[in-house]
Subunit: 335 residues, 2 copies
């Protein structure tokens, strides 16, 4: 049996990340993580006529980059697992269109990076596919018009708002090759604490992150201290403070090894208020900073939870609250 506890699975065959790539927009490229990214765009339209087409091109760049870094060709890949924030995940499906491989489309909002790694690790570990590419992307300008208002309206951003990261990240999984490996995954549940404010994603997602973290520690009998680093995806400043409080109450206080990708990607002067968000937030930080530090030996074992707010304009218009979800993966280097 590969399942331990209620929501966690262990990968006995050690699916490894044999290639990874991150690409970000110009604003992210001026942030504190700039030196870790593989590619920084000069302009967030990336030579395209629309932001949506730019988002797709960013995804294609990340996907091709991960394959090249593994020393492989696109036709060496046998499965692509991806999703994004746009209606009917068009950035992912249109990327898959020009890519001659089986495709599984996911939707987990900003939880997509670890959702794809969790599903992908099962499929590689179980011997169903040999080289599985996992990735996701987001774009500030497409997300604003998708979930809130078109930028042209010039709406004032409330102080609890976050800034969707323009960027994409991709990881290539295989049992053969070198790289850090996915040790286990905790598959999250949908949680809803009744937050309905589309400008306060951090508060909407924090309960889901708490739930997945707590279950992870219960399932594995581990403690927060057992990891060199615990990362959440995009709770931002407010959401990560809520998570720290919630975890304290649950009996698993988070220490200094806890950070949120949304707090890492921008600095205060960049006026993003609560920090970064979007699928691209944890995807780019994981596929740059985190994997580099795992490869260099600075970290030996990390736990990352991408966090997703499962809203839609359609659900908001109908008066619904915003449920959240978080999937966690443990990534280790060989001792």
């Amino acid at each position: 049996m590969r399942k331990i506890g209620t929501q966690t699975v262990v990968f006995e065959n050690k699916p490894r990340i044999i290639g990874n790539y991150s690409v970000v927009g110009p604003k992210e490229g001026r942030g504190p993580m700039a030196n870790y990214f593989d590619y920084i765009l000069n302009h967030d339209l990336y030579g395209e006529k629309t932001y949506e087409k730019a988002e797709q091109k960013i995804m294609e760049t990340a996907v091709m980059g991960a394959i090249e870094k593994a020393g492989l060709q696109p036709n060496d890949i046998d499965l692509f697992i991806s999703g994004d924030l746009l209606n009917q995940i068009i950035s992912a499906t249109f990327t898959a269109k020009d890519f001659d491989t089986s495709f599984i489309g996911l939707f987990g909002a900003c939880s997509t990076m670890t959702e794809s790694l969790s599903v992908g690790s099962c499929l590689v570990d179980g011997g169903y596919f040999s080289r599985v590419l996992c990735g996701t992307c987001s774009h500030f300008s497409t997300a604003e018009r998708q979930f809130r208002y078109p930028l042209e309206l010039g709406n004032q951003r409330p102080p609890t708002s976050q800034w969707t990261v323009t960027g994409a990240g991709a990881s290539l999984l295989s049992l053969k090759g070198d790289g850090p490996y996915i040790e286990m995954a905790t598959f999250g549940k949908v949680c809803d604490y009744g937050v309905a404010d589309v400008n306060n994603m951090g508060a909407a997602m924090a309960p889901a992150a708490m739930h997945t973290l707590k279950v992870h520690f219960e399932d594995t009998k581990r403690k927060p201290d057992d990891y060199d680093l615990i990362l959440t995806g995009d709770l931002g400043k407010l959401g990560s403070e809520i998570l720290i409080d919630l975890m304290e109450k649950e009996g698993y206080p988070l220490g200094e090894n806890y950070v949120d990708c949304g707090n890492l990607v921008f600095d205060k002067e960049q006026k993003t208020f609560m920090g970064g968000s979007g699928c691209g937030c944890s995807a780019t930080i994981f596929n740059s900073y985190v994997l580099q530090k795992l490869k260099s030996g600075e970290y030996r074992s990390i736990l990352i939870l991408s966090t997703g707010a499962l809203l839609s304009t359609l659900s908001s218009q109908q008066g619904n609250t915003i449920p959240g979800i978080a999937h966690a993966v443990v990534v280790r280097r060989d001792e």
Copy 2:
């Protein structure tokens, strides 16, 4: 190794469908399949204020029905895999919200039924989860306003259009229990032959169905005659004729054992033009008619491919064509 050929995986441990349920709207309940469905709504609002909320309730009914038919309780399930046609798959995520189990959100448009069965079978077969619920839904009135025009506009439907099925279907997978089993799955690629007409989904999806079918026969060294029934999801009248032509040219002519769920669900007098479509089309036919005939022994082995058109109003507005995808699963009864 569990993979054969390029896109097909074989499930050595025989994940079984130990519970299944189908629920449809009143129009589908007046069609030729009426006697096979578990539940037929009196009104397509299902007691809710909006069609979107009705769609979610239909999904909840199917999910609970499948669990009950297996003689289980919701907390016996350890994973729910689902998606739908709405923006950010809100029918699936809001169903998952009230359901205390890990959740994987998929987006595969109308291919979601076999996409969820394919992924779910890997996870059950590999021992990652023990009871996995797979399901999807669609609603005529939500899909029209999502992808085409709000019904209130009274637009005339062109002759190539199809009618989105109001309905949901769910299958519960487990290695323990009785029922037909998933023998193998062929994971589809995204195909695009350049169709851009949002009122001609059948033509957009037929190339993807052809590609998956052809690869399935190549990977497995089987022929169309080896199955008692081959079903596509929702190509409709025109799309299934295109598929028959394409398969003839590829050297795998389809015989009388080939049918399309979109051609089964409505009869000519119901004025649906090219027939049924939507996630709910193959989900309801599979979880009623098909599984009943497998259980009764009339069929021993069937191949079903749900077919998805990967469009969005966003992609159409940007002048994009409509890519398609199809995932195939083989379902057998014990000899």
